[in-house]
């Protein structure tokens, strides 16, 4: 292993676990799935390394400021299921004290490779960014619990400052105690818009409107899955009560179709009522003054580490592809497990159950002495089935409106990084030169910038691919850009951005 030499990199490759100490499992991602998986694996006697890029365990759902800042940035009121989070944190701390858990926060995993006796996971420690220290972890089993990120559909003005993802607004609030604006309009589709609206309203923002593209009756088409998940109803009712208390109007079958700015920030949001296909209805456009906009169209599973390892994918039913797993969260690659949103977006409760089941599989496959009894896994299997049915019902109730490209003008940027317009993508499609987002990338540079198509990929896919074909992200050799020095340690080709 050569020494990293890049700028900001100290010449040291560090393995945080003492030499000679065996380690059984690396878990990437300390959100609900990863935390639950790590605790179950530790309870079963394994030695675990839990790695996360954040400053505290919790992932996006339970995002918290670092432990040292909890008093300065109080965020307790923002969270759902905080009891479960605290129990997992307490269990992790207890295991950390025994020395069997190594918790690596502020560590960004940029690739993982499989060989005969397990996996090598390459990370960089950015705890003192911009310094980077290369960290290499090895274990016979790897569990990827990297979650998901907001799915975006472009609209004219979506790149104006003050337009954020709904998840971005939530992360500023949960992680930093910051309300990003005074007058906020939220738009997109899916149940996630409601907690974001409720949290912003409860913390002093004026939420002027929540624009939900789906029809309110859509949930009623699949009543069974909804009725079997009373906890979700209770959660929804809590958000609805908060929104009612702050007089936040939720407009269904309505979308943000444009934004306009003054002095470098969004100032006006244009909304319109939608027909059944999602086309704006004539004479329904409203202009709403706002300094901040939050948009989200569901989520895209974060598969960056899984794709290069070669595991099979499956249609998640919401327009995205997710990792294919068996009923024990095993991928098609031996020794590789995944749980939570990487298997299809379904929420934190599902992720916790899947995380525990994944760890039970690891314990079984490694023939660990401390395998749990059968009662808990049986309950988790039932919970997974119930939550997956709920997620499918949600996906059907909150589809991407098929006619959403009707909002685009030819000069609307689709790829924010390379500034590729809708017109350019449409031309590539019209010339029959491009039939998928990878070919569009080659022709137009859409998806070739810093974000590697994570923001524009689903939209470009919709613009060029057959309608019911789910989005598969491009394979990225490096999940996060690293300095040349850290890359020098990899046998892989050197860069994923040009």
């Amino acid at each position: 292993m050569s020494e990293p030499r890049g700028p900001g990199t100290t010449p040291e490759v560090r393995d945080p676990v003492a030499p000679g100490e065996p380690r059984d499992l690396v878990v990437v991602g300390a959100g609900p799935a990863g935390m639950a998986a790590a605790v179950t694996a530790l309870d079963g006697g394994l030695r675990v390394v839990l790695v996360d890029s954040g400053a505290a365990p919790g992932g996006q759902f339970w995002r918290h400021p670092p432990l040292t800042a909890r008093e300065a940035v109080p965020t307790d009121g923002l969270h759902h299921g905080l009891g479960a989070y605290r129990a997992l944190c307490a269990a992790l701390s207890a295991h950390e004290r025994t020395g069997r858990l190594t918790l690596l926060l502020n560590h960004h995993v940029w690739t993982a490779a499989r060989d005969e006796d397990g996996f090598t996971v390459h990370a960089v420690d950015r705890g003192r960014a911009p310094e980077e220290r290369a960290v290499v972890l090895r274990a016979p089993a790897l569990l990827v619990a990297t979650g998901a990120y907001d799915r975006q559909l472009p609209f004219p003005g979506w790149d104006l400052p003050g337009v954020l993802t709904a998840g971005g607004l939530q992360s500023l609030l949960k992680g930093g105690g910051v309300v990003a604006g005074r007058r906020v309009v939220l738009g997109g589709t899916g149940p996630f818009l409601l907690p974001v609206a409720a949290a912003l309203a409860a913390h002093g923002a004026k939420v002027v409107a929540v624009c939900e593209a789906a029809a309110p009756s859509a949930w009623l088409r699949h009543p069974g899955a909804l009725l079997r998940n009373p906890a979700k109803w209770a959660e929804g009712a809590r958000y609805a009560a908060t929104l009612a208390r702050h007089r936040v109007p939720v407009r269904t079958r309505t979308a943000i179709v444009g934004a306009e700015g003054t002095r470098g920030r969004v100032a006006v949001v244009r909304t319109a009522a939608l027909d059944a296909a999602g086309r704006p209805l004539p004479d329904t456009e409203r202009r709403i003054e706002a300094d901040t906009v939050g948009v989200g169209w569901g989520f895209v599973p974060q598969l960056d580490l899984l794709l290069p390892l070669g595991c099979d994918l499956a249609d998640a039913g919401d327009g995205t592809m997710a990792a294919a797993v068996d009923d024990g969260q095993r991928t098609t690659v031996p020794g590789l497990y995944t749980a939570g949103e990487t298997c299809g977006v379904g929420g934190a409760a599902l992720a916790v159950s899947e995380g525990r089941l994944a760890a039970v599989s690891v314990l079984t496959d490694l023939a660990a002495p401390g395998r749990p009894g059968t009662r808990r896994p049986a309950a988790d299997h039932r919970a997974v089935a119930r939550h997956r049915a709920f997620a499918r019902a949600m996906a059907r109730a909150h589809p991407l409106p098929p006619a959403w490209p009707a909002w685009l003008t030819d000069d609307t940027p689709v790829c924010r990084c390379e500034e590729v317009t809708a017109g350019a993508v449409r031309s590539a499609r019209a010339d029959d030169a491009a039939a998928d987002h990878r070919q569009v990338k080659q022709l137009t540079r859409a998806g070739m910038g810093w974000c590697q198509g994570r923001m524009c990929g689903p939209a470009v896919h919709c613009l060029v691919a057959a309608r019911d074909q789910p989005y598969t992200p491009a394979e990225r050799l490096v999940a996060t850009p690293v300095t040349l020095g850290a890359l020098a340690d990899s046998a892989e080709p050197a860069s994923d951005h040009t």
Binding site: Q60, P161, T165, G264, G449, R454, T480
Partner: protein, 84 residues
């Protein structure tokens, strides 16, 4: 008060905040321009995925402001037209 500097000007932050959280708390949502269209960019995804919020930290370019924890005395420079 704990501060880092942005283009030489002190910016206060609460311990535990990221650079982006401190910038947004001060009312700034954009701090960079794109190469071609010179369009303003700043905070967008907030979770390290979109790379819109890039800044230079202590001389190292291409740092995602939404991921870097603010520390007292950091020197942040913005407005890099081209990040690589």
């Amino acid at each position: 008060m704990t501060v880092f500097t942005v283009d030489g000007e002190p910016l206060p932050f609460v311990a535990g905040q990221t650079l982006a959280a401190a910038l947004v708390a001060s009312g700034r949502v954009a701090w960079r321009t794109t190469r071609e269209g010179r369009r303003p960019r700043g905070i967008f995804c907030g979770i390290g995925v979109c790379y819109d919020c890039l800044v230079t930290v202590d001389g190292t370019r291409g740092q995602r402001a939404c991921l870097v924890q603010a520390r007292a005395g950091m020197a942040v420079t913005t407005g890099e037209a081209d990040d690589e």
